[in-house]
């Protein structure tokens, strides 16, 4: 009896390894083929033989790509556009995310509608009028115009993430700051925005990645009209890296040592509930209070939690 179960278990493990190997081949082979093709001569690429290892190693493809195809200036363009997009997006979204999360009412509704709506529309519907707008503003054919467009189309995703982070900052912290005589702007500048920085840093990585991904194919003169439709699918995914416990601990320590935090420390249960780490751990079974989904967001807004 026990022998048969162990045999079964070993058989199961073998099957699992076989499946894993199958996945590896399926997912990895195209990359392998891409690398091998990079070292093949064009004659061999067009020949009838299909070998993974090139018959004759050719390295001129790389020098060709770098010299003749202007890959380096294109990469620099991408880098400039990505970084500019990131900086401007952060500057614009942090205040707006705060407004969306804290100030309720019509503004919030309009913001939610826009965030969702801009995801749904097919790019083809936006591209033509967008081109006309850009042409009227004389922004077409310029990197700055590209940055502005990227900023606009990465904003929905960033806004959505950021307002989750804002919702996770205890309101008591702000109130403590005001008790100490800080004005509204000072509260925002010295308490709210610094606490948002870890989230912003996470978002920034996504921006640079997405920016590069979008610009590269275009820089190589591939017509890719779909590229303007953003946010790119890659941008929608929460990174697991956000759940870094060391970083969360650092952040909590910073919040605790914050000059205004001494006045009012939330009780243990509440701080657990509002632990910003919880909302960054990706999707959970029972969504934490600061989930990013609109309907769930509505059902657990601070307003409802506070009203008796």
């Amino acid at each position: 009896m026990s022998q048969s179960t162990t045999a079964k278990r070993v058989g199961g493990r073998v099957l699992m390894y076989l499946a894993l190997a199958g996945y590896l081949v399926f997912l990895g082979f195209p990359l392998l083929w891409l690398v091998s093709a990079a070292f093949k001569s064009s004659a061999e690429l067009n020949s009838l033989s299909a070998n993974l290892i090139p018959q004759e190693w050719v390295f001129t493809n790389f020098t060709n790509a770098l010299e003749r195809q202007n890959l380096i200036p294109a990469a620099i363009n991408s880098l400039v556009v990505s970084i500019a997009t990131m900086v401007i997006t952060m500057l614009l979204t942090m205040p707006m995310a705060y407004a969306l999360a804290r100030l309720q009412g019509r503004l919030r509704a309009a913001g939610t509608v826009w965030i969702l709506g801009s995801q749904v529309f097919p790019s083809i519907l936006i591209i033509i009028p967008l081109f006309l707008v850009m042409r009227t503003l004389h922004l077409n054919d310029s990197l700055f115009g590209l940055v502005l467009v990227y900023v606009t189309f990465t904003m929905p995703f960033t806004l959505w993430m950021m307002q989750g982070y804002v919702a996770a900052i205890p309101r008591e912290l702000e109130e403590a700051g005001e008790m100490d005589g800080a004005g509204r702007w000072q509260v925002l500048r010295t308490i709210v925005f610094p606490l948002l920085v870890p989230g912003a840093r996470r978002d920034r990585d996504v921006h640079v990645r997405v920016g590069v991904e979008r610009v590269l194919p275009r820089a190589r003169a591939h017509p890719e009209p779909g590229a303007l439709h953003a946010p790119d699918r890659a941008a929608i995914v929460p990174r697991r890296g956000g759940a870094d416990p060391a970083r969360a601990a650092r952040r909590r320590r910073r919040a605790r040592d914050h000059p205004v935090a001494h006045h009012l420390r939330p009780p243990a249960a509440a701080s657990h509930r509002r632990d910003p780490r919880r909302c960054r751990e990706g999707l959970r079974r029972r969504p934490p209070p600061c989930t990013r989904h609109p309907t769930q967001e509505n059902s657990t807004t601070p307003r409802e939690r506070q009203s008796p």
Partner: protein, 316 residues
């Protein structure tokens, strides 16, 4: 700062009549404008205005021709569209493509996530390798797969012929073009779905699995009664989003087949694109875009209603 709290907690109606706006409420409104203003400008200029005018273009006979007059023609485009069988054929293809990719991605990503969640060796390596498709832009993905599918020098046919199966022109054959394109879509979608499913699986508390195991549930039943219900929200979210993204996706199929052979992979975004830039009928293309938006809205509303129901249950 207790007063705004009271304001917020009271029903929004109380703040509506203008004379009642106190000093606090007014300053709050000013603050909101100052906070939102800078972001609002690019949103309005580059997103809201193009979006609305894009929708409006569907009701005109605009073309890409120079100096052409644009006339408002009401629902003319849409009436013409109802008789356009090629568009509806493409619409059906789009549903097959997006549904096929979303479903197959879910199934294969679920398998991979389950494997990565069990304690096998080489897990770290697999996790890294599983992200490969994610790191590639759609155009590069399409180029690589075109090489793989190549009927003469592609490795797929070479492999099949070495075991005695005659090769086919995968992307050029009427019957294999759509499945071949769907496989590429699945390949490019696996990493993201896997990562999300894995995150969802790790959020399910191990005590549940242990309890089920103690009660004598086998691996299959544990998956069916513990893992799957726990993953339900994630599955629903990612499949809906996958469907919408694939339905709207353009680059992959455009580079792979350009809609061929004989329109067998002509998914709606491609069809609309060709209508706009090959036939130069922007008005008609925008009308098609409007129809696609309505279709996507319908799909999205299913998802939203489901989410809403669930969140209400959670509140109770």
């Amino acid at each position: 700062m207790t007063e705004p709290k009271v304001l917020i907690a009271s029903p929004p109606k109380a703040t509506k009549p203008k004379p009642k706006l106190g000093h606090r409420a007014r300053s709050e409104r000013r603050e909101a404008i100052a906070l939102v203003g800078p972001a609002l400008l690019p949103i309005l200029i580059f997103s809201v205005i193009p979006l609305l005018s894009g929708v409006a273009l569907g009701f005109t006979n605009a073309t890409l021709a120079r100096n052409a007059e644009i006339d408002f023609i009401g629902f003319g485009n849409f009436i013409e569209l109802t008789g356009n069988t090629r568009f509806w054929g493409s619409f059906g293809l789009g549903l097959i493509w997006a549904g096929g990719v979303a479903l197959l991605t879910l199934i294969s990503a679920m398998g991979l996530a389950l494997l990565l969640n069990s304690n096998l060796r080489f897990k770290g390596l697999t996790r890294v390798l599983a992200l490969i498709p994610w790191a590639m832009p759609p155009v590069v993905i399409a180029i690589v797969w075109r090489m793989i599918y190549n009927p003469n020098s592609g490795p797929l046919n070479a492999m099949l012929e070495s075991i005695g199966i005659p090769g086919t022109n995968w992307l050029g054959d009427f019957s294999t073009a759509l499945p071949a394109v769907i496989v590429v879509g699945v390949w490019s979608g696996i990493p993201q779905t896997t990562v999300l499913l894995l995150a969802g699986m790790q959020a399910i508390s191990p005590e549940l699995h242990e309890a089920a195991a103690v009660d004598g549930a086998g691996a299959l039943r544990r998956f069916w009664h513990v893992t799957l219900p726990g993953l339900r929200p994630v599955i629903l979210a990612i499949t809906t989003l996958d469907f919408i993204w694939q339905f709207n996706s353009f680059g992959l199929v455009y580079v792979l087949t350009e809609g061929g052979p004989g329109g067998r992979t002509m998914i709606p975004p491609l069809f609309t694109y060709l209508e706009a830039f090959r036939n130069r009928e922007i008005g008609m293309a925008s009308a098609m875009g409007d129809v696609l938006v309505i279709a996507i809205m319908a799909i999205l509303s299913i998802y939203l209603i489901n989410q809403f129901r669930q969140s209400r249950k959670a509140v109770r």
